[in-house]
Symmetry: C2
Subunit: 189 residues, 2 copies
DNA sequence: TGTACATCAGTGAACGCGCGTTCACTGATGTAC
DNA sequence: TGTACATCAGTGAACGCGCGTTCACTGATGTAC
């Protein structure tokens, strides 16, 4: 059942995309190879023709998730409105396409080095992006870097905790609103 | 090999304590029952005499971890110095005895209801504790609740991200310092 | 207080299931002539 | 351009291992007399 090179390349991308969604939704240990391949429209046996191991896919999926997210944040979206969107109930309830920083926050350190590296690079890229926006708003460089780091932590913590307490809607939204407000206070954004 | 009721009760507590440490360090899926029992000085077969399932232990261990942490935060420790300790490299590197909010942040929503409930109650207790401290510092009630929620999110996000990027010491400590500074800025604490 | 016996906490082998990975096989692709 | 054949992406059965859970058994506890 050989397929054309183009189709094989499509399959490769489909596997990464499926993995990026499923890993974010269920964690690295919460999905098996067969489920990922099934989501990509293939059977599990074909997997090892595309990747060396599940871990190798995890690293690739992590990289892709960050890239996809950062690409979606275009210059047209201001920091302020990005924060509104990020620190919201809709992001809280959107696991599969949500931010990988949140999805993997507390389990990434148990993954292999290759996955950790992709994650750390993603966090770094996110922080830089925010620092750039702050600079554009007139904040000086060293201050902007420090503040960006603080904002990233608040964003991730807010969504992670809001998800973890989702069945207690009152607490969950108090966390989101409280965090969003605290950032607004600081920068008037 | 029956043991006295007192020893059996000690064993019960030892299992919970071992689980609370190991689960925080390796996650719920990263430790098996045999390892927990071994850490508690028993063999795996005795486990089901103490708990109905691994999940039931997870709930109990989660509850214990929160209790232990909150008990350690006595009235003698000010909010400011508690934040210094929480948002620090030493807490970042202390997994087994670290804050359960951070340890389970992104995997708690995949656990069973019983575990989620313990977690959410813990988050709620933490938030209330911080709100009380803010009130004691003169912040008005409704404001104190909202700000407390924002602070908890920042705390959890900072330590979680600092851990996730621990191999990049510069980024990791920038996140810790940036977060701590942003809270200090807001409340002058 | 001492003795006989029922209880039951703990032990370690075994069960069953899920999952990552391997492999012999299939049949469409794409290349050599 | 057409034909023959080597290549190789995909299939599904099978392997091996780890883990949660069960169970027959052990022997100290603690109770009944």
């Amino acid at each position: 059942v050989k397929v054309s090179k183009e189709r094989a390349a499509e399959h490769h991308r489909a596997i990464i995309k499926a993995a990026a969604r499923l890993f974010r939704e269920h964690g690295f240990g919460g999905v098996n190879v067969a489920e990922i391949m099934n989501e990509a429209g293939l059977t599990h046996g074909a997997f090892y023709g595309h990747f060396d191991s599940k871990v190798a896919l995890a690293a690739e999926a992590c990289r892709y998730a960050f890239e996809d997210r950062l690409d979606a944040w275009t210059d047209k979206v201001s920091l302020s409105s990005y924060l509104d969107e990020y620190i919201s109930a809709s992001h809280r309830d959107k696991y599969a396409d949500g931010c990988p920083m949140v999805a993997f926050a507390s389990e990434i350190h148990r993954q292999e080095k290759a996955v950790q590296k992709q994650y750390a690079q993603g966090v770094s890229a996110y922080t830089q992006r925010i620092a750039e926006r702050l600079s554009a708003e007139g904040v000086r460089k060293p201050q902007a870097n420090s503040r960006a780091a603080g904002i990233v932590a608040a964003m991730v913590g807010a969504v992670a905790l809001a998800r973890s307490t989702a069945w207690d809607k009152e607490l969950s939204s108090k966390i989101l609103l409280g965090t969003r407000a605290s950032i607004a206070t600081r920068f008037g954004s």
